[in-house]
Structure formats: structure tokens, C-alpha cells
Symmetry: C2
Subunit: 107 residues, 2 copies
């Protein structure tokens, strides 16, 4: 892989799952929060409007599957199999954040 | 680590190195592009204004070290040792982007 290709792949990834909210939303759903309100409660500071928009974007990109149930009426979000391939990225970010917090605390 | 903690760490990481440009810039510098123009050339589509702003932000967060040389006058950017801890995140993103591109091509 050349440097140029690596940069392109990195930018592709950021294009699809970059931003403040997409990875936290995927993480929340993957952890068992399937309802809109549960997802919102699991992602600190996200607004209803932004969560709604981001879920639509993730659904369009096949990272989230939205299912409507009848009797009783309910909407559930699940992550797709493809999303599972993002777990290593999310895991490394969690580890880095943990280390970063400890590093800051040291000072 | 609880789910709440993991989410907090993930959001911390996104706060510090999230956005479209910071990880590509760090990658470019780490790959040996130390001058402003070289970094700009290595990060497709970034503008001078945005690169300048992002470098300042990265410098404030101790992820980039800016050095001014005299005779001849030159400014160089290097990544700090702390930045090296981000390489696993960047690596996983590059791998995901590569896989994503292949997946898209299949269809």
C-alpha cells in the first residue's frame, strides 16, 4: 500500500463514519440499545434532531438496519453485520480515550 | 470498564482528534512531511486556511511540535511521542477504508 493509497483509505473511512456522533451511535446500538430513546440516553449530549439525522445517514450507508414492528408499534435499530468490522476502530478509540484521560489526570 | 465509561472515552477521543482533517494531518507528518506545503500536498482537498487552523489546534493539544529554524528560515512540524499512541487508531481506519472500497467495488 502506498502512502497515497493509505491516505485515501483513511479519508474514505472518515467520510463514512467521521464526525462526533456516528461511532458513538453505532457503539450504543451494538451495546444493546435498540430504541431511539435508549440510544439517545446512551450518547451524552446528542439532540433528538441530530440523532434522527445521523440514524438516517447510517441507515442509507447500510450500517444500521431500521425495523418497524406492529402490535405493539415499535421501531428498532440494529447494527448490520458490516458494522461489526468497525469494532476494532471503536475499540482503539476507547483505549486511546482512556489513556488520554489518565495522561491528563497525571498532570 | 462500564458502557458509560467506554462511551465517555470514545467521545473524548473524538473531541481531541475527530473531524475530517486531524488524523490525516498527523498521518502525513508521521510519514515524513514536515513542511506546511508538503503536508498540504499529502492531504487531498485540504485548504491552506483549514490546515493552518488544524495545525494550531494540534499544537495546542501537544500532538504536533512546531519548530522554527533560522538560516535558512524554515518552519517544521513534527509529531510528538504522544501522537504515536494514535497510530493504532489510524491503522484500523486505513484497513477499514481499504476493505470498504473493495466491498463497494464488488457491487
Amino acid at each position: 500500500m502506498t502512502e497515497e493509497q493509505a491516505m485515501k483509505y483513511l479519508q474514505d473511512t472518515l467520510f463514512v463514519v467521521g464526525g462526533k456522533w456516528k461511532l458513538p451511535i453505532l457503539r450504543a446500538i451494538h451495546s444493546g440499545n435498540y430504541r431511539f430513546r435508549d440510544i439517545q440516553r446512551s450518547v451524552p449530549l446528542i439532540t433528538t434532531r441530530v440523532l434522527s439525522k445521523e440514524l438516517k445517514h447510517l441507515e442509507e450507508n447500510k450500517l444500521v438496519i431500521r425495523t418497524v414492528y406492529h402490535s405493539p408499534l415499535a421501531v428498532e435499530y440494529k447494527v448490520s453485520d458490516y458494522t461489526l468490522s468497525l469494532l476494532p476502530v471503536i475499540k482503539e478509540m476507547i483505549l486511546w480515550g482512556k489513556n488520554h484521560r489518565e495522561k491528563i489526570r497525571e498532570k
